[in-house]
């Protein structure tokens, strides 16, 4: 084996130009694969971190309250009773927060926008401070009633700064117009799609806007010690809440605001609870992740085909050039498997070295972009869920990429290697040119 490896290396070195071209192509594809997978992992981890802090828990107990059949609101009444059932039946619980949910028009002196309002109690939101980076003002000021946190782009659109007052205008559960004047106390950095339509007010302010009592909230956001427990906890909660006498909505894996149309069409009135998980609540952005994943696979597939054709061609040329050498080797006793192994080792050595180099380059490129804090274009920010490009390259991804590229290129070299091994020694030795 050592001899075969030596022959392979010497052969690669002697055909430096060909080796560099093919090795460069393999390195390029590996680098691209590492970068793409790093980007995908970056988006996925950002979604998990941002979305599960800003708009959903790992598991949520939300629901709708309907005064009339056609008028629903994302409200959970008597949420303390629901909370008791949750605490008694979810030992996996790390912590739980209650969030008001609403949709209102935010109006300033110079502009207006529609926004999804979350009513939060900032003292009970430990994860919030990690995700939301305040650019102006202070998160603690959100403790005071009549305040609001908005994001940079929203502040720009409304033409407001910290200290300015904006009006929230919405309709109560009974359809009565109501307004609340709130003071901007914090302007946070954008977090992609979520910062376009989300704004945060104290829970009491949201209740005042919707004329709700103290016992009402939008949803209970449950954060578990281990996110892998989500399916078990979700299924258990459905059962225990139903046995506790609560009406539970059928499973609909979509964000709560996508369900209004369906809920308004149903004839029931009163309260129904909806148990969802974080993936349901971010389903509207999951498609982007799926699209990027598939696009990457297609791109990598095409590149792999190109590399495969290149490898096959190169090996064909090598075999043609070394036909007499193969004949001689066969004549002095090398078995067909030996010839096969010789070409395979050569292809493997080239692929592995090139893939290793490409992966290292990819890793360096990702690290450089992360360190440079490069701002992504606005349209890209929507999908990245953050302002900056962020790559998350895991060791498993790195090893996987090297193995995939090396495996594919070695496998493809089986065909020409096998054909070389089938050459008759006499025919091979008489071959001219």
């Amino acid at each position: 084996m050592g001899q075969l490896f030596l022959i392979a290396v010497r052969n690669l070195v002697s055909h430096r130009r060909r080796t560099l071209m093919l090795g460069g192509a393999i390195s390029g594809v590996t680098m691209l694969l590492v970068i793409l997978l790093g980007l995908l992992n970056g988006i996925r981890s950002t979604i998990l971190e941002s979305a599960t802090t800003l708009m959903t828990g790992h598991v949520n107990v939300g629901g709708f309250f309907k005064v009339t059949a056609g008028q629903s609101a994302p409200v959970v009444t008597h949420y303390q009773k629901v909370l008791e059932v949750v605490r008694a039946n979810v030992p996996e619980l790390d912590y739980v927060t209650e969030r008001g949910r609403g949709w209102a028009k935010v109006v300033s002196e110079t502009g207006s926008m529609q926004a999804g309002l979350s009513g939060i109690d900032i003292r009970n939101e430990p994860g919030f401070r990690h995700v939301v980076q305040v650019k102006q003002g202070s998160l603690d000021a959100l403790n005071e009633p009549g305040t609001i946190l908005i994001f940079e782009d929203q502040a720009r659109r409304l033409g407001v700064r910290v200290g300015d007052v904006v009006t929230l205008s919405a309709y109560t559960l009974r359809g009565t117009a109501n307004t609340v004047d709130v003071r901007v106390v914090a302007v946070a950095r954008n977090v992609g799609l979520l910062s376009i339509f989300n704004a945060y007010v104290p829970a009491a302010t949201l209740r005042a806007l919707y004329a709700l009592n103290e016992g009402s909230t939008g949803a209970l956001l449950l954060y578990l010690k281990d996110i892998r427990d989500v399916p078990t906890v979700e299924a258990r909660l459905r059962e225990v809440l139903a046995s506790a006498g609560f009406q539970i909505m059928d499973k609909d894996p979509r964000a709560f605001f996508q369900k209004f149309e369906v809920v308004n069409r149903q004839g029931w009135t009163g309260q129904k609870l909806d148990v969802t998980n974080w993936e349901d609540e971010v389903a509207f952005i999951q498609w982007t992740l799926t699209a990027v994943t598939w696009l990457s696979y297609v791109l990598i597939g095409i590149l792999l085909i190109i590399i495969a054709v290149g490898i096959m061609n190169t090996l064909w040329i090598a075999i043609r050039e070394r036909t007499r050498e193969i004949g001689t080797l066969r004549a002095i006793g090398m078995q067909r498997t030996g010839v096969l192994a010789m070409f395979l080792v050569e292809a493997f050595s080239l692929s592995f070295a090139a893939a290793l180099f490409g992966a290292a380059l990819g890793l360096l490129a990702c690290a450089a972009v992360n360190a440079a804090h490069l701002h992504a274009p606005l349209s890209v920010q929507l999908f990245l869920m953050r302002e900056e490009l962020h790559f998350a390259v895991r060791p498993s991804v790195l090893v996987g990429s090297i193995l995939l590229i090396t495996g594919c290129t070695t496998a493809i070299s089986l065909i020409p290697s096998f054909l070389a091994a089938r050459l008759q020694p006499v025919t091979a030795m008489h071959r001219v040119g």
Binding site: V67, T68, A69, G70, Q71, K105, V107, G111, S112, T167, S169, Y171, T172, R174, G175, T176, A177, N178, T179, V180, A211, E261, N264, R265
Partner: protein, 258 residues
């Protein structure tokens, strides 16, 4: 004979209240009753409406719609005919539910009765019969001048357990004609939300009511939260002849949308 006697008495009572100071609560109530009665038609109602919507930083949008009413059955239907993109869209009120129809998707959506119509500053109530007596308690806030008109100023508060979009309304009623000239609507918080002006009132004799039905020829609606937004509604070609019996159905609106 009996009907015309009641109507005559009603009108006599109404005219005795008009052009006089509002001495007591009874007189205030009578003003509201007169406003409601004048706009009510016991038969059917059809009109052509033009809605011109102005919004900040947006191009003005003009819409044309047909309004159908059957007041005694509390039926209302709005069918948009122009512009092309809006044609076929419509609203219908069935048993206290307001449904909207979009021919693009072929879907019906249940909406709140207090929702904006087609995204403009107008609401269902602006096109419907007046129900001030049923929905509000009124108090007189004195007399004043609105331009060259002598007016009564009334403040209306929603009755308990009644669902309305605006719990407080202020009315400026022309002392001479009894018509509403200006209306201001306030949110639960007390903030002024909309101001409406009724510069032109028109009347038409109704065979079914055996009396005249009044309708505003024009309504100017100003959004008081987003100050630069406004909507002008012009009502034309009012027709009080009976409509087809089965007109207030989803099927009819769908058929007209095709």
């Amino acid at each position: 004979m009996k009907t015309s006697l009641v109507l005559t008495l009603g009108l006599l009572l109404a005219s005795s209240v008009l052009a006089a100071p509002l001495a007591d609560q009874g007189a205030v109530l009578q003003v509201l009753k007169t406003i409601d009665y004048r706009q009510h038609n016991s038969g059917d109602y059809k009109s052509l409406a033009y809605l011109e919507q102005k919004e900040k930083d947006k191009t003005d949008i003009a819409r044309e719609a047909l309004i159908y009413r059957r007041d005694d059955d509390e039926k209302l239907m709005i069918l948009f005919t122009k512009p092309k993109g809006e044609a076929g869209k419509g609203y219908i009120r069935l048993d206290k539910n307001l449904w909207s129809y979009d021919p693009g998707t072929g879907k019906w959506d249940r909406r709140t009765e207090r929702e904006r119509i087609a995204g403009t500053d107008s609401r269902r109530a602006d096109f419907d019969q007046s129900k001030l007596v049923e929905e509000y308690d009124a108090t007189a806030k004195g007399e004043g001048k609105l331009g060259q008109f002598d007016v009564w100023e009334l403040e209306l508060h929603v009755k308990p357990n009644t669902d309305v979009a605006f719990p407080v309304v202020k009315l400026w009623v022309d002392e001479a004609s009894g018509n509403v000239l200006k209306r201001q609507e306030f949110a639960l918080s007390g903030r002024l939300m909309r101001t409406l002006y009724y510069p032109r009132w028109q009347k038409l004799y109704s065979e079914s009511k055996k009396a005249e039905v009044w309708y505003p020829g024009e309504i100017r609606i100003y959004d008081e939260v987003e100050k630069e937004n406004s909507t002008i509604v012009v009502l034309k070609s009012v027709d009080l002849r009976p409509l087809e019996a089965n007109i207030f159905t989803k099927a009819w609106l769908e058929a007209k949308s095709r």
